[in-house]
């Protein structure tokens, strides 16, 4: 190939507007940052198990301390772990990869509403990711103000150097990316559904992606405002969040940043979990071979959570000097949001009840998502109520809680989606045994690791401590933390099961069947480029379908041989019958 033609082909493959290729770009980007963020997590766990001891194999990066994490290195490690995992791994994997892949296919649209926005979005994400990685190499190190980047820690007085600034710009870039795909998803779902694909026939995962996208459009700009103002404080000398002795001419207030950050940050939890809930709802129905129980109620409950998610953020500020009346208001709103979540859980359980349950890898991952999110949700109640939040705030309890909800549940949902759609994405079948082993071991170890954090937090261990055992009252937690760290290392090792499975399948995997899970949603049933949708996504085990087709599923756009065309009014159907 001539160099010019090669460059042209390379450019075309990098600047692609095909949603499925964009999905693959996000997938590999997400995996890269999942790897980096995961390795940083191992370093944190090593530090809590053997504080200040040299980490085997890290002497090349920290030669002065012979591989031991110094306090500044430790703060940079946990900061970058959080930022990479939330903004550059899990969110892009759920929305950028699975969202771009499944959304147009599942609604019967040939493409996204704005294909070029998909490409712009990916490249904004890629630039942000490059800045994150570059920040490791600058003088004074990477960002170290925690993943929330709270001022005054994140202002130049406390985190001088380019690292924190690069990371702030990187978060802005990934915000642009999230906003662009959010806008694209909303317009695609509202405007580009196939004929007959009514709101009541959307797969639940599309509902989840849609609601999450709405939250992205509304609340990512608030994050942009917070990080934009922080960036101005860092580079232009403004005083938005600088207070006290560091301020000039009066200064501002760091608490404003907390308000702005959590006005985005709490909906972000739901941005991550809404698509996961959608997947759970769909997969539980698919693999119980039953219609989803209370489909409309589930979709409505997801909508209620979406609507409430912007009104509960201030429970993160209970200990920031909030007026008691506001504290009570936000406590009630926070506890209220658990009601629609309960409705969803009950619907999933009712779907499972007396179903012909098939414990496939996506189903196991969906069930694991339910369990870890349930644990995360229950432990969150203690943080939603003022009286219990005050003693638990800032402890490892908070860390265990949000890792169960945002980390473990989203991670398992990503793998549920990946195992489910991989045959459609790459045309090959992953090894089911390895996949099941990966899901089950990950779920058990997640509970062990984050359960250990909950226990440590309940015992009073504060989060982010470099050496918790310098406090006498925490010395007895060393054994617990060591066991938790071993569980974390095993969890990291368990991911090799997925890596082996992925490499093996991409290299030697057999071609998949056209509809390996035997479900009727449009992405599996090859309904053609312009399908007309006739029914909902979970039409499973219907007696009439079994009688006419001899199977327990039917495509959303597939007419029954004896079915009167859908365009004929029902009155005429009765006459014809």
């Amino acid at each position: 190939m001539k160099p010019g033609a090669f460059l042209k082909a390379l450019g075309a493959s990098l600047w692609t507007t095909d949603p499925q290729r964009v999905a693959k770009q996000y997938l590999w980007g997400g995996f890269l940052f999942l790897l980096v963020g995961g390795l940083l997590a191992m370093l944190i766990r090593f530090q809590w198990a053997w504080p200040g001891q040299p980490v085997p194999g890290l002497a090349w990066a920290l030669p002065e301390s012979k591989g031991a994490l110094t306090p500044p290195a430790y703060t940079a490690v946990f900061t970058m772990h959080g930022l990479l995992m939330i903004f550059f791994a899990v969110t892009p994997l759920l929305f950028g990869a699975l969202g771009h892949f499944v959304l147009p296919l599942a609604i019967g649209s040939p493409r996204m509403a704005f294909p070029r926005l998909s490409a712009f979005g990916f490249w904004a994400y890629a630039v942000g990711g490059a800045l994150m990685l570059a920040s490791f190499g600058v003088r004074l190190g990477a960002a170290s103000a925690g993943w929330t980047s709270y001022p005054p820690l994140s202002t130049p007085a406390f985190t001088p150097g380019l690292g924190q600034t690069l990371v702030t710009v990187a978060v802005l870039c990934v915000g642009v990316s999230a906003f662009l795909y959010g806008l694209n998803f909303v317009v695609t779902v509202v405007r580009c559904r196939a004929p007959g694909m009514t709101w009541g026939r959307l797969p639940l995962v599309v509902w989840g992606l849609f609601y999450g996208a709405v939250l992205n459009v509304l609340f990512v700009p608030v994050l942009a405002a917070a990080t934009g103002l922080l960036l101005l404080d860092r580079v232009a000398g403004t005083q938005f969040f600088i207070a006290g002795a560091a301020a000039v001419g009066g200064g501002g207030d760091p608490v404003v940043y907390q308000h702005l950050f959590w006005l985005f940050g709490h909906p972000e939890v739901y941005i991550l979990i809404l698509p996961a809930w959608g997947m759970v709802g769909d997969f539980v129905a698919f693999f119980s071979r039953k219609p989803a129980h209370g489909y409309r109620l589930t979709a409505g409950a997801m909508g209620a959570v979406t609507a409430l998610s912007g009104a509960v953020y201030a429970h993160h500020l209970f200990t920031s000097g909030m007026a008691p009346v506001l504290g009570r208001t936000f406590m009630i709103l926070t506890l209220l949001i658990s009601l629609p979540a309960e409705v969803m859980f009950l619907n999933w359980l009712m779907t499972l009840w007396r179903g012909s349950v098939r414990l496939t890898s996506p189903m196991l991952a969906a069930l694991a998502t339910m369990i870890v999110f349930g644990l995360g949700g229950i432990t969150g109640l203690a943080l939603g109520a003022v009286a219990t939040d005050v003693p638990l705030h800032g402890t490892m309890w908070v860390v265990g809680h949000f890792h169960l909800t945002m980390g473990a549940a989203s991670f398992l949902a990503v793998f549920a989606g990946l195992y489910f759609w991989f045959p459609r994405l790459y045309g090959r079948t992953l090894h089911e045994g390895l996949a099941k082993a990966h899901v089950v071991s990950s779920a058990v170890l997640f509970i062990a690791v984050f359960g250990g954090q909950l226990v440590a937090g309940y015992a009073g261990q504060l989060r982010r401590l470099y050496d918790p055992y310098q406090y006498t009252f925490l010395e007895h937690l060393l054994t617990l933390n060591r066991w938790t760290s071993w569980a974390a290392f095993l969890l990291g090792a368990a991911q090799l099961l997925f890596v082996v499975n992925l490499v093996r399948t991409l290299k030697w995997g057999r071609a998949s069947e056209s509809n390996p899970w035997q479900v009727g949603t449009l992405e599996w049933t090859d309904a053609g480029p312009a399908p007309v949708v006739l029914r909902g996504p979970h039409e499973l085990s219907q007696p009439e379908v079994q009688r006419q087709l001899g199977r327990d599923w039917i495509g959303q756009a597939e007419p029954l041989p004896e079915e009167v065309p859908a365009v004929v009014p029902s009155a005429k159907v009765e006459v014809a019958v």
Binding site: D18, P19, Q20, P104, L105, G108, S109, P110, R111, A113, F114, F179, L183, V186, V187, V190, R191, C192, V217, L218, F219, V220, P221, V222, A224, A225, A226, G228, L229, L232, A236, G237, T238, Q239, F240, I242, A247, V248, G249, G250, G251, G252, D253, V255, V256, H259, L260, L263, R424, L425, Y426, G427, P529, A530
Partner: protein, 194 residues
């Protein structure tokens, strides 16, 4: 396995449908811009409530900012006129040139006013504390939004000058224009009123 349109041979969405998609997308983008602006305005209000604000006597004058506001409102009214005559390029041209003049005038007035505040009234960052930060921060966000909307009007004007139909881009620009006008109203209330 690929998309529903693996060969890329499906016809694109009809112009009307594509235009409706674009209009909806623009509305969402403006909603996002409003959220961003409201977040900054919320911060400003927080500082006012906490008393980090100069006394009324020390606030900068309101005459030139009011002129800038009037220019924006005038531009919005002219844009309605341009939209009305969009199918008659000759008539629309005059209206659009008025819109562009008003928009450019607004940006120039703002730039000149901020220049005066910085250099001649010593309202500088960081010496003037959070008030100056809010003033320049809100102004920058609003001006960026106004510049984007003005670029849209400029593109529509070029289309009309070339004899093309420009009703659709003008329709898209209209909510953006009023959005930026409301933003300026909020900015004015937060920064210039005691």
């Amino acid at each position: 396995m690929s998309t529903n349109d693996p060969t890329g041979t499906l016809p694109s969405a009809s112009p009307q449908r594509a235009e409706a998609n674009l209009w909806f997308g623009m509305v969402l983008a403006h909603a996002a811009a409003v959220m961003l602006f409201c977040a900054v305005a919320f911060a400003a209000d927080f500082y006012r409530m906490r008393g980090f604000w100069p006394p009324a006597s020390a606030l900068p004058g309101r005459f030139i900012p009011s002129v800038a506001g009037v220019l924006l409102v005038t531009g919005g009214a002219l844009l309605h006129g341009a939209l009305r005559y969009a199918s008659r390029p000759r008539s629309a041209r005059a209206w659009l040139l008025g819109v562009l003049g008003a928009g450019a005038g607004f940006l120039a007035t703002q730039a000149a006013w901020l220049h005066v505040l910085w250099w001649y009234r010593d309202l500088r960052i960081p010496d003037s504390g959070v008030f100056a930060s809010v003033l320049y921060g809100l102004s920058a966000v609003q001006a960026a939004h106004a510049a984007v909307v003005l670029t849209g009007v400029l593109r529509a004007t070029v289309r009309i000058l070339r004899g093309s139909e420009a009703r659709a881009p003008l329709r898209r620009a209209l909510p953006g224009w009023w959005c930026t006008t409301v933003m300026y109203g909020v900015l004015f209330a937060v920064v210039y009123l005691p």
